[in-house]
């Protein structure tokens, strides 16, 4: 049952990545190409230029399907970049804190504590607002709020590995600190880091959509699922599909990421994850 769910989730995510990468070539999205006569058409309508709008059109007559595809690209790009950047920062700082301990660990851990004392979405909102709407700024704002999670995971693994026998013997053999960290400590951190990364991919997608929904995310001329939902909110009564469709896409992808994360974590308790978002 579990592996079947994981397989299905993998399938959905593979489709999502394919669409994000190649989709825009098939259904190009142009934020300025509007057709006044094609406004707010329901899913399955035929447009004035004869093309078919599978998921309807928005308040400016743009194709919702094309917007969702364009949004998937932003969503994937932001999530992957944030997790890679935040993961790398967290990896380096976590390794240093866990391996060296002492004041370095204290400083890194305390900064992490301070940041986690803060609901992470609040910090992201403040940062994104201060930096102004742009793709890069969204990535910066989210990466800043995510590194702590990765650093904690890596630090924990590094701490438990650094006094193991094989590390000691490497030290006796004269291996330098950098070499020990890279060759001996790093491998023990990979597994937990990957599990954390999977979970964070989903959370980052939701966070990006939330920022864009609030108008603090990507600029208006780039379609994000969040901003499409925000636009659709004003047309709920007349054109529900504008808000509904990107949300369904986002939910589906995030749940699939969650299923995958669950099976990656396999066996360990996941009831505690929620509070430390």
């Amino acid at each position: 049952m579990k592996s079947k769910a994981a397989k299905a989730a993998t399938g959905v995510l593979a489709l999502f990545v394919l669409v994000a990468v190649f989709g825009p070539m098939l259904a190009p999205y142009d934020s300025v190409a509007t057709g006044v006569s094609d406004r707010l058409l329901p899913p399955g309508s035929t447009l004035s230029d004869g093309s078919f709008a599978l998921l309807g059109t928005d308040q400016l007559g743009r194709d919702v399907f094309a917007q969702v595809i364009a949004g998937s690209r932003i969503s994937l790009l932001v999530a992957v970049t944030v997790v890679v950047v935040g993961g790398l920062i967290g990896l380096v700082l976590g390794l240093l804190a866990g391996y060296y301990g002492g004041w370095l660990d204290t400083v890194i851990s305390r900064v992490g504590d301070m940041q986690l004392a803060f609901p992470s979405i609040l910090l992201a909102i403040l940062l994104a607002g201060a930096l102004g709407p742009s793709l890069t700024n969204v990535i910066i704002a989210l990466a800043v709020t995510r590194w702590v999670i990765f650093a904690r995971v890596v630090r924990g693994s590094a701490l438990s590995t650094r006094n193991r026998e094989f590390v000691d013997s490497a030290r006796v053999m004269g291996a330098g600190s950098v070499r020990i960290m890279a060759r001996y400590i790093y491998p023990s951190c990979v597994q937990p880091l990957l599990v954390a990364a999977t979970v964070q991919v989903g959370l980052t997608m939701v966070a990006e959509a939330a920022l864009s929904f609030l108008g603090l995310g990507v600029p208006i001329d780039q379609a994000s699922w969040g901003s499409t939902i925000a636009a659709g909110r004003d047309y709920l009564a007349s054109a529900w599909w504008i808000a509904a469709v990107p949300g369904i896409a986002l939910t589906l992808v995030v749940i699939c990421v969650g299923v995958l994360g669950d099976s990656a974590r396999d066996g360990s308790d996941n009831t505690k994850v929620a509070v430390v978002r």
Partner: protein, 308 residues
């Protein structure tokens, strides 16, 4: 006990300072000139220069930081250029709305999540149990702002039984409170379910049965007492999360709380209000975490200082 509380208190004070520092640093990185932001585009060069002097923008960063720290401790965040008047007063005015919302969400979480979890524990593998496990999986993953909009679509636009925005009636609380509660509902239910199952397998349950007590007493008195302790303590954390999540959800429902005020202020670059709002939320969050740890002591007689 006193020592432990004192230590946790000191830790919390440190975290509050941390929050103040982080916000200060973030606001420092704002591109642009705070003076021109405050005065608007019509200001003359002399007025701008005077404002810069007044704000002490020429001083070294550390000096600015300590002066700012003093101001924050006096709750002096400055004036709101958008709303007029003291920034902190503006935020305080919006506080009751957020607390009401978070309180109702907490009540909903508890009233639905707890019985659901207990029910699932007593019917493992059945439909309720599966519902709980789906809810806990999807609830956390769902983009709650979108869920809120969909609830508006269904209950306000289509069925027309609940108001979509704050209109002053108590019914207006239902949708935003439920939206806030949903991610934690399944989570709590799962926590209660697992806790209950764990307790049911313990030896004291067998003892209670061997005493000839009815299943109802065994469950309601003996088991639930032990399930409740961890639940009560996590509720504080959940409340903290509600106040944070309210920032987005209030925006969805045009709820006049601190959260929507914070977003409006950030979007409009009214940073005095934004800072006051975000720090108030952070202090709530830190305070609730502290309260949870202290509460845990009183609720679980087994906890001694050594185990902490």
């Amino acid at each position: 006990m006193i020592i432990y509380i004192a230590r946790r208190l000191a830790q919390s004070v440190f975290l509050v300072f941390g929050a103040i520092t982080i916000v200060f640093l973030v606001l420092r990185v704002i591109p642009g000139d705070p003076a021109s932001l405050i005065l608007g585009s019509q200001a003359t060069a002399e007025e701008l220069e005077a404002k810069r002097q007044e704000l002490g923008l020429g001083d070294p960063l550390l000096a600015q930081y300590f002066r700012h720290l003093g101001e924050v401790l006096r709750l002096d965040f400055g004036e709101s250029w958008r709303l007029g008047g003291d920034a902190f007063a503006n935020v305080l005015e919006r506080l009751p709305a957020t607390l009401t919302l978070a309180g109702y969400a907490l009540a909903l979480t508890l009233l639905i999540g707890f019985p659901l979890g207990v029910h699932a524990a007593r019917n493992t593998g059945k439909a309720v149990d599966r519902l709980v496990s789906y809810l806990s999986l999807t609830g956390q993953a769902l983009p709650s702002f979108w869920v809120g909009i969909m609830l508006v679509l269904i209950f306000s636009r289509m069925l027309d039984i609940l108001p979509a925005t704050a209109d002053g009636t108590p019914l207006a609380l239902v949708l935003p409170a439920f939206t806030l509660a949903l991610p934690f509902l399944g989570w709590l239910a799962r926590l209660v379910r697992n806790g209950t199952l764990e307790e049911l397998g313990k030896d004291y349950v067998r003892t209670a049965r061997s005493k000839g007590l009815s299943e109802r007493v065994v469950f309601n008195v003996h088991v639930l007492r032990n399930t409740l302790t961890p639940v009560v303590t996590v509720l504080g954390l959940v409340l903290g999360n509600f106040i944070a999540d309210a920032v987005i959800i209030e925006q969805v429902f045009a709820w006049p709380g601190i959260g929507s005020l914070m977003i409006e202020s950030i979007v409009n670059r009214d940073y005095a209000v934004a800072e006051a709002a975000i720090l108030l939320i952070a202090i709530f969050y830190i305070g609730l975490n502290l309260a949870v740890d202290v509460l845990y002591f009183y609720l679980d007689p087994r906890i001694t200082l050594e185990t902490v």
